[in-house]
């Protein structure tokens, strides 16, 4: 096994320090006792206390979670269909338009998506609220799901599906009993991706929100626009903590699966 050269070791250390120091500083300062963010006034968890008594934040968190669950579920269904159509759909009228529309939202600036959806919703519904945020989030999140699902569909053996239909399964049965179980990990990570994207979005939600539908990012943005706030540090620490636990669990599970597979392969040989 070759060891890393000094040069590579240094760049990696500096690079990861750059990526992680801001978050570490944020976490450390969330335990600062004083209101002044820069002066260390002793260890304290009081900002977590004030955070949990702040009704506005709790409400916003609850709205955000409901929006994210609804978005992730809708986007997963639509995105899986879209990914399936892109890979297995064959030729149909408007295919180029369809694939263009399925990829474009990935790179479209949020301000444009937000503005255009708001103008549509004004014509369609007149008023805004949680529903319009869910519809807007679903539209861009489904495109991410479709990319994840279609790359999985591209990489698996098509003959499995052909075998099922040769044995008399209808296309629907084939999809449910062969295709879906195989692409399921991709569908699941699509759901998680859509959930995170919805949880994270400030710009689009700001355009299409309405009374009573303030999401957490909107709340955070209006709190930090004027400067650093210890409560937001505490809130950020909680959010970073949840994500870290999630990602670590997922990668550990994945590692275990890989190790198991390597063992199986060895045993088979």
């Amino acid at each position: 096994m070759k060891k890393l050269s000094w040069f590579n070791l240094t760049t990696l250390t500096l690079g990861f320090a750059f990526l992680y120091i801001p978050m570490i500083v944020l976490i450390v300062y969330s335990f600062n006792g004083g209101r002044l963010v820069t002066v260390w006034a002793g260890f304290s968890t009081k900002w977590y206390g004030t955070l949990f008594h702040n009704e506005a934040f709790l409400d916003a968190a609850w709205v955000t979670i409901r929006v994210a669950v609804a978005t992730a579920t809708l986007a997963t269904i639509l995105g899986t269909l879209a990914g399936y159509v892109l890979v297995r759909g064959g030729r149909f009228w408007g295919r180029t338009l369809f694939s263009g529309m399925a990829y474009a939202p990935l790179v479209m600036p949020d301000v444009i998506l937000g503005l255009s959806l708001l103008l549509l919703f004004k014509v369609m519904f007149g008023s805004m609220g949680m529903t319009t945020i869910i519809l807007a989030h679903t539209t861009f999140a489904m495109c991410y799901v479709s990319v994840v699902v279609s790359s999985r569909l591209l990489s698996f053996d098509k003959s499995l599906e052909e075998a099922a239909s040769d044995l008399g399964a209808t296309p629907f049965d084939t999809f449910m009993s062969v295709t879906l179980p195989i692409i399921f990990p991709a569908v699941l990570s699509g759901w998680l991706l859509a959930f995170t994207l919805s949880l994270d979005d400030l710009v689009i939600a700001s355009f299409v929100t309405g009374p009573g539908a303030t999401t957490l990012p909107i709340k955070i943005y209006s709190a930090v626009r004027l400067g650093v706030s210890p409560e937001i540090n505490a809130l950020s620490t909680i959010m970073i903590g949840i994500v870290t636990v999630g990602v670590l669990t997922a990668s550990l599970l994945n590692k275990r699966k890989v190790v198991q597979r390597l063992k199986d392969e060895k045993a088979a040989n």
Partner: protein, 298 residues
């Protein structure tokens, strides 16, 4: 075409038509309208009850006034130019930081790679807004960075970094770094090491082997990474709004203010139409690059 196939294709297709394409048509239409003190705040509005004559009257009221306005007021074209400048410079800076990191990752012992990969992906799952916000506490006048530098005696008085373009560059490089590292890493990881050995056997020095073999072979990843940073950075709103100053002009921020502060929907729409027109070329180039890579893999 049977019914089931029609449904499977029809549902996502209709959704995208309704919530992606139709909104753009509306944006283009409103960019040609005039602002009005009404709800909604623009005129004319389309009245389908007017029949063909109403439709004619509607189209006759549309004009390019807003676009003329955008070319007359220097605020807008300076904002477009300065967005292009900020997006290009930060893309190059991101590349300068990401390439050595991706290179180091690809050369790392195999058992480290999964962990390093996870360390790159973790920030990507963390809230974008929070990652931008974390720099406010570091770059401020009384922030962490100034505190350290003063303590070390490197500077005598605090540097002004927050609310300048420098802070915007740092913010973009920081938040988009994973998007640059991942595609470069994936091309470097696939790179056949025997090619470099061959180059060295044939008399290349290490450095020239790097420039003659590694760099050319990593071009597809570099190009993909640059597009993934440049395109969203051009329309960025959160970073210039939180880290930039009042003199940081970026088109995403101008559009936001035009819409939320000035309530001028037609001008905001015209700004969006032009931004889209600027982005069309890089978006098409990006999709071509992805297509080429896909075909190359097969």
């Amino acid at each position: 075409m049977n019914l089931r196939r029609l449904i499977v294709i029809g549902i996502p297709f209709t959704w995208l038509l309704l919530f992606f394409l139709v909104p753009f048509v509306i944006v283009i239409k409103i960019s040609l309208s005039d602002p009005a003190i009404a709800i909604p705040p623009y005129s004319p509005t389309l009245e389908l009850s007017g029949g063909l004559a109403g439709l004619k009257a509607f189209f006759s009221q549309l004009d390019f006034e807003n676009f003329t306005f955008l070319t007359l007021d220097p605020l807008y074209y300076t904002a477009y130019l300065s967005s292009l400048k900020i997006a290009s410079i930060s893309t190059l800076l991101t590349l300068a930081v990401a390439f050595p990191m991706a290179y180091g990752m690809a050369r790392a012992p195999e058992e480290w790679r999964a962990t390093l990969m996870m360390l790159v992906i973790l920030p990507f799952w963390t809230s974008f807004l929070i990652r931008v916000y974390s720099w406010m506490g570091i770059l401020g006048k009384e922030g962490f960075l100034n505190m350290i530098l003063l303590w070390l005696g490197i500077i005598d008085e605090p540097l002004t970094i927050l609310n300048t373009n420098t802070a915007v560059y740092i913010g973009i490089v920081y938040t988009y770094l994973p998007f640059m590292i991942l595609p470069i890493y994936s091309t470097l990881e696939k790179l056949d090491l025997s090619l470099i050995e061959a180059a060295e056997d044939l008399g290349c020095t290490r450095t020239s082997a790097f420039w003659l073999v590694t760099v050319p072979l990593s071009v597809p990843g570099v190009v993909a990474g640059c597009f993934l940073v440049f395109i969203p950075a051009l329309g960025e709103f959160v970073i210039p709004s939180l880290l930039g100053g009042s003199d940081t002009l970026m088109i995403g921020k101008v559009l936001w203010e035009e819409f939320f502060s000035n309530r001028d929907w037609p001008v905001a729409s015209a700004v969006a139409v032009i931004l889209l027109a600027i982005l069309i070329i890089p978006i098409i180039l990006f999709q071509r690059n992805q297509q080429k890579q896909l075909e190359g893999d097969q």
